[in-house]
Symmetry: C2
Subunit: 392 residues, 2 copies
DNA sequence: GCTGATATGTTTCACACTGTAACAAAGTCT
DNA sequence: AGACTTTGTTACAGTGTGAAACATATCAGC
């Protein structure tokens, strides 16, 4: 299959057309939009013999299996097809956490191994080596062919897997995808952490017809966008880098040198800090857990801090919706114990800031993946790159 | 050629592959990236015989012509090829102005006829009829085959040419592209006015590698986005509809019922109104011309109003850049006589609101097309739809 | 001025893929 | 049981690309 992550003029030959059709069949099957050769032909618009041939190749490779016979509809009963999710395995790596987390899983995301490696401050070449090592360790344990390696990392990442800038990891213009491919012999896909998160949410959220945004709020703040069914990285791979957008000129100082960046208002340390300040407590060492904070600082202080953050987030999301027109927004909040109340604050502000009709159609949720969101995103990078599959 | 404006699973056959390659050749030639069969083969990656065949078809259709012989580079000299911009004509219609403006022009945009038709309040079915009429009037005057009709309209427009909502024109869920195609017999492309503007600016701005935003400021405010080389319409065709985003909660009342919408701060009527208020004058009947306003209201009042609008616009653009990461922004301001000073205010705010490195790489210009920007956009809709040509 | 080298453009042919038509297979309905 | 329907396959024609060889036209060097 295609190793993905190239750009530029691509020639259309009969062979490349075949790849397109092959992916189309696999994607349609994976999405559950068809379950037999005949229904595949109807859904994809291809002729039945063509589908037969493509399915034959997928059966050969093991990616698809015949799983029984369907009920007849007045004629010969169809032979049911399904993607064999255990036919390949995937190495997924989440570099947004330190130590990094890596898993070996099948196509459905069922884990068979998990590693957490590296000190909290491993960076630069040593981090590259650590990544290569963990792949070299996990890949041989696979009980099925390994489809590839997916890496989700903070920082700016181009479509072809070059980490333009990841200050915290000490990486600049690092051709990570190529390096991994060379040193591990496996195809590799590298993406920004929020982008990867957006990809996996896009694949699993029913409502996300062709657009979705994921907003990650942890130490920093970042967003990932799927627009028109594709990851949107931006001209400089900086799309969704909203953490250091100044939303309160003259506000609190930020690590970047400016004042009033979004991160100074809605990052988890900021929220915790606000709550501590309201309660007159020392912010240091406080847990990233709203329930625990309420016990220590009192309901009111925590509530006020969350209100402030939710309002600011809602205003930012209103801008996001007005500009790119996504209808699904998924939040990944590293502050535990935050629920519906916070979401309501966000939604209320969002609606207030948009035209009434506009705001009503926007859905804001919390992610269902919890802290493993990015890891699943790394997994989804491989699915999308190697098979064109949006859903796991 | 393809009538464009469809969506969904598209089958890849050898014939569709040929269309892709044919467009690739034409686009490469139109962009000036190649000028002979051999150079086309190099740039597009196709084999020389393939290029010869495709070029033969383009020569047959008259779209491309042999324009001479190039200088030899140690071998047989190449036979130079060029797109024949007078081989086709295009009907372009701008519905953002009342009365509407329609032109007949060749592919380069050279006009051979121009009509302004309809009263200032023509709407609904009568406006549809007026559009059909103007096409029926212009098309027969063409001295070359008409490639199609391009319509740029305010409101929400889907990719397949359905006007979902255009309140001022009295249109709701109007399948305008299909209607025009049926009643005029010509292929038609319909797009949002700001989107069309973005398309033509994208085609002609050298700096816009793969992303660009056009922000239109007139009676209302709207933006058009080209992302990753494609028009971005959004999930509900509402991308770039930033006019009624609330940026000053509790601010001035807006026609939409809310308060503090962006339009209440930076639309031309708002700017004029602000200047009038500062000078203690009656805003009614004032001209949309900064120079004239300075004479009537004094430098200071106009300067202050422009400063306020420029600052607010800069803040909005900072959000735009942080979210979608475009590096080129083109402004279309219907207030005459506004120049570099205003742009500097916008740029300064933009840079202040972004990370220093980020802001430096963003280019903000005024459009060079003046009031005909949207008309050229409508023209570009046809070029893009019928030929896949980004540049006129 | 002739010869070899070089780049352009065309012809010929093999190869790959899709779609149509016809057919076999395995059910349902009357 | 026989007609009908739907599924899946086989055979073949049509269309398109690419590789190799070839014709063509110029430059460079002797």
């Amino acid at each position: 299959m295609d190793t993905g992550q190239r750009r530029g003029t691509r020639v259309a030959s009969s062979q490349s057309a075949r790849q397109v059709n092959l992916r189309s069949v696999l994607r349609t099957l994976a999405a559950g939009e068809a379950d037999s050769r005949a229904s595949l032909a109807r859904v994809t618009g291809m002729a039945r013999p063509t589908v037969t041939r493509l399915v034959a190749e997928l059966l050969d490779s093991g990616l698809v299996a015949e799983v029984g016979t369907g009920s007849s509809d007045g004629g010969k009963p169809p032979r049911l097809l399904a993607v064999n999710r255990s036919a390949r395995q995937v190495v997924a790596i989440d570099l947004s956490r330190r130590p990094l987390v890596a898993t070996l899983a099948d196509l459905a995301g069922t884990e068979s191994a998990r590693h957490t490696v590296g000190g909290a401050h491993t960076a630069g070449d040593r981090l590259v080596a650590a990544v290569v090592d963990v792949v070299s360790d996990l890949a041989p344990r696979a009980t099925a062919p390994v489809a590839g390696v997916g890496v989700a990392t903070p920082g700016l990442v181009t479509r072809d897997g070059v980490v333009v800038e990841a200050a915290n990891l000490g990486w600049h213009d690092l051709r990570l995808a190529s390096i991994l491919q060379e040193r591990t012999g496996l195809p590799a896909w590298v993406g920004n952490d929020a982008d990867a998160a957006a990809l996996v949410e896009y694949g699993t959220r029913a409502g996300a017809s062709d657009g979705l945004a994921v907003v990650r709020i942890g130490r920093g703040v970042g967003a990932g966008l799927v627009l028109a069914g594709r990851l949107h990285a931006g001209a400089r791979a900086a799309a969704g880098e909203i953490g250091h957008l100044v939303v309160e000129p003259g506000g609190h100082p930020c690590s970047c040198g400016n004042r009033g960046c979004l991160e100074t208002v809605i990052s988890v340390p900021s929220i915790v800090g606000q709550a501590a300040a309201a309660a007159g407590a020392d912010p240091a060492g406080l847990p990233w857990d709203a329930t625990a904070l309420r016990h220590r600082l009192g309901d009111e202080a925590v509530h006020a801090a969350l209100q402030a953050a939710g309002t600011r987030l809602g205003a930012m999301l209103a801008h996001l919706v007005a500009i790119v027109d996504v209808t699904e927004i998924v939040l990944s909040l590293e502050l535990e114990g935050v629920g519906e109340e916070f979401l309501e604050t966000v939604r209320t502000t969002l609606v207030e800031r948009l035209l009434p009709i506009d705001g009503e159609q926007i859905f804001v949720h919390l992610t269902d993946y919890g802290p493993d969101l990015i890891l699943h995103g790394a997994h989804a990078l491989v699915l999308a790159g190697a098979f064109g599959m949006a859903r796991p």
